[in-house]
Amino acid sequence: MSDSKNTAPAPARPPMAGGPGGGRPGGGGGMFGGGRHGMAPVAKAKDFTGSAKRLAGTLRPEMVKIVVVMLLAVVSVAFAVAGPKVMSNATNVLFQGVIGKALPKGATTAQVIAGLNAKGDVASKDLAAMIRTMNVTPGVGADFALFGKELLLLGALYALSALFLWGQGYIMVGVAQRTVYEMRKHVDEKLSRLPLRYYDDHPRGDILSRVTNDIDNIANSLQQSATQLITAVFTIVGVLLMMFIISPLLAAISVLVIPLALLSTVQIAKRSQKQFALQWEQTGDLNGHVEEMHTGHSIVKIFGRQKEAIEVFDERNAKLYDSSFKAQFISGIIQPVMNFLGNLNYVGIAVIGGVKVATGTMTLGDVLAFIQYSRQFTQPITQTASIANVLQSAVASAERVFELLDEPEEQPDTATPLTLAEPQGHVTFEHVDFSYDPASPLIEDMSLDARPGQTVAIVGPTGAGKTTLVNLLMRFYEIDAGRITVDGIDTRDLTRDDLRRTFGMVLQDAWLFSGTIRDNIAYGIDDVSEERLLEASRAAYVDHFVRTLTDGYDTMLDDDASNVSQGEKQLLTIARAFLADPEILILDEATSSVDTRTEVLIQKAMRRLMKNRTSFVIAHRLSTIRDADIILVMNHGRIVEQGTHEELLEAKGFYYDLYHSQFVESFDEVSDRLDAAV
């Protein structure tokens, strides 16, 4: 078990760094969705297509909804795209009215045209050509009934488009959240099926970050970027289509801008990505240093290292400044460049379109509509480029989650389990071999017979032994050879749950979870009567100090349980064991950081708990060791000797040396003096 309660925090994620990568106000879109793009460095997936397919596979239960989202997107985009065309019709009606009004009333269109042509100058001839293509009645203004109808249609189209856009977003939020909920659930279930070995071999921070950060990343990408991507792609297609319908020539000119826009976006994005990645990394570096220096403040001072601390800080701070400035600047260039390209396109359309209107080959409304389309055109291209990056990182995250889900699981319980009807607590090891790493065997041919009620003391200078013992007894790890039995039954013939129910565990690094004291004591069982709870608490000397707390048994233990001392925490776990009332115990005697009076209580409570139970004790006290029925002597995690106190002393082996270096000098001396003093 780890030596501290400090869970390695998830790899320091720099807080919201940088700014709106692609989220400049390009026509009002992407303000929120686009804001986060381009901030996180894009982690590359190892197997992109495989993981992407699998991620898509997790969406299968939502297939119907996704199809609906797609349909809504198509309709929404189609309506939005149809808008400018309707608007052009409306404008045409208006324009015809303007022209018509300017012409002499009563004349026919043909007369007007003939009159204009007769003038002979170029402008008049062009005007004549234009009027010929229009539905103009000289002297009559705009047809407001028609104009109104067109505008009503336009309004309806836009309203529906917005409505469908909302529907699409609304449904997609549900799709994303439900998918991610299931994903979290699967990962959590997986965690309970993974063997302990996995936890011992992987940093906690890494596992934690897969469950939280990576899954969050997937959620955000799914619900924001995915909808944006769908809309963007459909918009590009729809707009292109409309442009070609209105004027193939002008459309061809606009299409020329696409490669330019794509090229510049990709080029700029590539460079800014690099800087964002640097910024991310350097924020981590700087924050790490700040964390370290502020946490170790007094050490830094007493060792006279402030100057160096500031030097390192300044250096990292300057680096961060450099990369964050560059990231910000480079990503900021995209918008002006796109604006320029957009305007270039605009002028091209205006010039050619103007000529075409003048020569009557195109209506004014169509030119205006076209201009609108060309404006709608560059933004989705920029968006698609930046979303591609986000999706890439989502797939990388998904891959990390899948990796966890694919880890080999614990060997399943036997299909035909035996049961311990009335457990006695008779534990044997028979020729057990065990090692964490086949290259260095740890336990070879170990045999042990602990009869009901006996005490086995584990002694040795290092702490590594106790974890191994817990691992084997509780079947957290599988042994390589031999067998371990409880009441004569091979532990592998029991279900793990049944086996573990016969054990109680009181360790020094007491594990409490955030919740009330009551919940923590009653951890072993559901539905505990108040009476039994109090009984266990009194037996463990918990009752007294709990009553001094303002909320008594309902006191919330916070994250580090700082409102309860280390020793009191251990008392709580003893109470927990009393309540669970197991036949076999694994105990850890208190060594450190426990104030003396509490230590006495722990000692007394443990004695009481051990009575009539088979106990494995990680022992630090001479009395415990001397009283034990069997002593296991461990060194470097291996069992080196086994026997009673007398046997081991006689053997003059490792225990003998240990005993003399450790206890005789200090304790016997004290005992003698105590005798004298008392």
Binding site: D3, S4, T7, A8, P15, M16, G18, G19, G28, G29, M87, K101, A142, F144, Y158, A159, A162, L165, V173, Q177, R184, L196, L286, G288, E292, M293, G296, H297, S298, I299, I302, F313, Y321, Q328, I333, N339, N343, V351, G354, V357, A358, L368, I371, P461, F476, D497, R500, M505, L507, F513, D595, R597, V600, Q603, H620, R626, Q662, V670, L674, A677
Partner: protein, 576 residues
Amino acid sequence: MTALLKTYLRPYWKQLILVMGLLMVQAIANLYLPSLNANIINNGVVRGDTAYIMSTGGFMLVVTLVLGIVSIIGIYWGSKTAMAFGRDVRGAIFTKVQTFSQKEVNHFGAPSLITRNTNDVQQVQMVLVFALNMILSAPIMAVGGIIMALREDVPLSGIIVVVVPVMAVLVGLIISRAVPLFQIMQKRVDRVNQVVREKLSGIRVIRAFVRTEHEAKRFDVANHDLTNTALTVNRIFALLMPALTLILYTSTVAVLWFGGVRVSSGAMPIGNLTAFLTYIMQILLAVMMATIMFVLVPRAAVSAGRVQEVLETEPSVNDPQEPAAASDLHGFVEFRDVEFRYPGAEEPVLHHISFTSGPGETTAIIGSTGSGKTTLVNLVPRLYDATGGTILVDGVDIRDMRRDDLWQKIGFVPQRAFLFSGTIASNLRYGDEEANDDRLWHALDVAQGREFVDELEEGLDYPIAQGGTNVSGGQRQRLAIARALVKRPEVYVFDDSFSALDFTTDSKLRAALKKEITDATTIVVAQRVSSIMHADRIIVLEHGTVVGMGTHDELMETSPTYREIVFSQMSEEEAA
């Protein structure tokens, strides 16, 4: 917020003025372009004047190009200034915290100082980036847009009066509803993290108590809560974009209708209609940004306040104006009637503490939790200043010494061994960079650390992770002791430093230390009687006062408190 901005933007006032100027030019160019558009339509397209279209179009391109260049320069200086501001504020906080004594650090708490030094600065910087790159131009755009719209057509501008408040209210409503929910969501995310973290650290206990199902339920509740909140928040946000587009579109239709009437009556040329549409878009955009600013600024202001608080805190422990001359004494610590109370506290934590410890001597301090042991040793390196009495090191009042000189004399091993990221060697050399490998190994020998360092493939170059999490608690403790030994100080302070060690290592270490430290004085705080019974002087503390002082034998005779402590630890042995 204003104070912070004023102070730390002052050095960049030239850049700021430049950025403002550039934003102004951008705004004007942006406002000018639509009227060029209008001209192209009115004078070119409508009249069929190709030459005019060409020349105006060419001019428009030039304007666009200038606009592009101006905005790139603006972004350059805007980003540079905002980032420089962030850098300077971070630097100022960091440097300030370095001057703090433990009192100020405790006042804020290390985690809070870290957040203030990193996240809070980032928050303010983000708003500044936002402001310098675009928000500052919002008022210009809005006002300019309105002026231009009025120029195009006065009666039509009435639409603006209707649309702008609708927009502001809607955006404000959505954002103000979503922001608190986002905070709740953050809490739910934290809760999921907490449950997983507990599950990971307690995996053995959970399985030992057969509580896997219970834990799964706990997780499911947290997961459910998170999902529900996330659903609500994101659904609200899903409303934002459609609502915005709807407003934009509705105003477009309105402009077309009312504008159409005006155009038809000849009160307004048709080209102005398009220009007007562009202006109204720009105005709405400006309103939207301003609304966002109203949401962002208060949050940034909270961060700025937290930053400012650190910067305004003055350290309570300072160097003397005129340091006293160094004395010839070495390895002496003396407490003269020392008292310490926390600011505002009624009862002092320590009072009437007097003792002297000389070279080669060990003074041990024992007592129950909360008796003031750690506070006492923290006074020696002036982590706090005593509120009464005098502490002398080598015969000089420590308040008359430069702190660097004082610290030079002290080797401190704190209760919780704290290692820095780097290597074992870099940690050991923390107090003396010049120390050679032999000295490091020697220190490791004394600190009982040689064996485990020897076993490491990289030896002294073994990398240490942040917080020293990749070595065990006992190893961390031994490295911290070795680090103090390498420094070769005149005063050693061990604050309960042996507790993470098992008995064997503890006793070996004490024997080695005794041999090693001959000309320095040692102050030890301990819990275990066995650790300190050979000390030259044992001080028994209770409720901040000395209730017994002497050797082990003397105290066994004279001090009931000491006897009680000894019995509590040894009586079980008697029972054996």
